[in-house]
């Protein structure tokens, strides 16, 4: 089945250090790839997307992601983590414009001060 995988249930980093949240995809064709963040008791917030073009995508709150076709990955990165980045992060894909998202299982990011 076509899917995205988030291999880590939890990622722990210290404030000020770079962070990476991993996502790999197993999708045929040219998928749309997304990252969303969910803060406690709040809805999902869109961070960034890759559809086509430049492999490095910049998004909200200083996050970026790199689309790597050879490694079928779309890892989320940030150069310097903040305690306020602590949240649940979801990678997702869709077949195209206007279609529903299919989510990975999520990765909890914990940033310690």
């Amino acid at each position: 089945a076509q899917s995205v995988a988030q291999p880590e249930d939890q990622v722990n980093v210290a404030e000020g250090n770079p962070l990476t949240v991993k996502c790999t995809y197993s999708v045929s064709g040219n998928p749309y790839l997304f990252w969303y963040v969910q803060y406690p008791n709040r809805g999902l917030q869109f961070l960034l997307k890759y559809i086509t073009g430049d492999n490095l995508v910049k998004g909200s709150y200083g996050f970026e992601a790199e689309f790597n076709k050879s490694q079928t990955s779309f890892h989320l990165k940030k150069p310097s983590a903040l305690v306020s980045d602590s949240a649940l992060y979801f990678c997702a894909w869709s077949p195209g414009w206007g279609t529903a998202l299919i989510f990975g299982k999520g990765t909890t990011l914990s940033v310690s001060s």
Binding site: L44, F46, W97, G98, A100, G104
Partner: protein, 116 residues
Amino acid sequence: SAVISQKPSRDICQRGTSLTIQCQVDSQVTMMFWYRQQPGQSLTLIATANQGSEATYESGFVIDKFPISRPNLTFSTLTVSNLSPEDSSIYLCSVSGGLAGFDEQFFGPGTRLTVL
């Protein structure tokens, strides 16, 4: 972007009853979806709400259990029928294809349902 509201934000219901969740968008959108997020889990697509026609359900979800309406381009409802404790989840509405030009998918704040 789109601003999405859901009512109610949370509810506690008795087994065997039903709950209807409303989703209102502040602008016209082409696509509306309903998702379920069970405790500690990821989001699972329930159905696509089609304006003026029957919703399109994902495998494992049926109309009798999750009837959906979408009377216009800004509003949809999801009913969770014959509730059981296993229906305790967060239900989220999302929208895409804004006629104002956006193509990201935006999510409502969710409705937290607890079934006793």
